[in-house]
């Protein structure tokens, strides 16, 4: 199943967009969201369970009681979005991959929280909190297990220097 959402506004629901159901096998779902606002949900803005989702040029904000986006056993691409004023910007749960390109994370209580490494393919403005072992990697770097303990944010230039002297 393929679902395309564009130029739309989703607000004041319990969950804005839900793909699949947690704990239940669902048919393969691909979702594209472009130029859309997902805001002021009672829970999470976007929930993805067992699916592939691309969100671009959109605003995910003011989800004060949950996350802007939650993924589990899924792939999530976020390109050129504003993700702000959420309780949690992006929550990456098990068996998931998130690709972040050119997003603005700001004014979330926690910007990114993850149980797996995040792949950062180009610059993202993350001015807040990276929690629970997220590792942001530059372009074309393969993911590896995140370090235990406190979160780590490796800026692109620092990672390049480390790679150069490795």
């Amino acid at each position: 199943m393929q679902v395309f959402i564009s130029d739309s506004h989703i607000a004041d629901c319990t969950v804005g967009i839900q793909v699949g159901t947690n704990g239940t096998a669902s048919p393969f779902i691909a979702l594209s969201v472009d130029r859309t606002t997902v805001s002021q949900m009672g829970s999470n803005g976007i929930e993805v369970f067992s699916g592939k989702v691309a969100v671009s040029n959109s605003v995910i904000n003011q989800n004060n009681f949950g996350a802007g986006a939650v993924v589990f056993d899924s792939e999530l691409d976020l390109f050129n979005n504003q993700i702000n004023f959420n309780q949690l910007g992006v929550d990456v749960l098990a068996n998931s991959t998130v690709r972040l390109v050119g997003n603005d994370f700001s004014l979330n209580s926690v910007d990114i929280q993850c149980a797996v490494p995040l792949v950062l393919e180009s610059g993202n403005a993350v001015e807040g909190v990276i929690a629970n072992g997220c590792v942001l990697l530059p372009v074309n770097q393969t993911t590896s297990a995140p370090p235990s303990g406190a979160s780590t944010l490796v800026p692109f230039y620092l990672y390049s220097l480390l790679t150069l002297f490795a």
Partner: protein
């Protein structure tokens, strides 16, 4: 479709229908339902390929305690386009306590363009 239509009409330009449910049964597979003017056209379950275009006015699905639009094809091959629509009344901050604004159970492709879900 028209806010002052009647489901007893043939859903033509000069004799429009009142609700989506009344119009869809008179619309062929791969056909299109267009709204001529603003109105609340009710909840709907879609089981075939179709396009619903709310047009330039405020074409709304206002619900409370139920789903707004449900897409549930008899097979997985249907294609549905929903354009220029407002689905309201879903809560918790909305007007009521509906369930899902647009619930997609079975379809090949679904396009939502300029849709307000609130």
């Amino acid at each position: 479709m028209s806010g002052v239509g009647d489901d007893a009409n043939p859903c033509s330009r000069t004799a429009p229908c009142k609700t989506f449910a009344g119009a869809i049964s008179k619309t062929a597979v791969n056909g299109e339902i267009d709204c001529l003017d603003p109105g609340g056209f009710g909840a709907l379950t879609i089981t075939k390929s179709i396009t619903i275009d709310g047009g330039p006015g405020v074409s709304s699905v206002l619900v409370a305690g139920t789903n707004g639009l449900v897409i549930s094809g008899f097979n997985a091959n249907i294609s549905v386009t929903l354009r220029n629509l407002a689905v309201q009344g879903l809560g918790p901050g909305g007007l009521g306590q509906g369930l899902s604004g647009i619930k997609i159970i079975n379809a090949a492709t679904v396009y939502l363009e300029n849709v307000l879900i609130k």
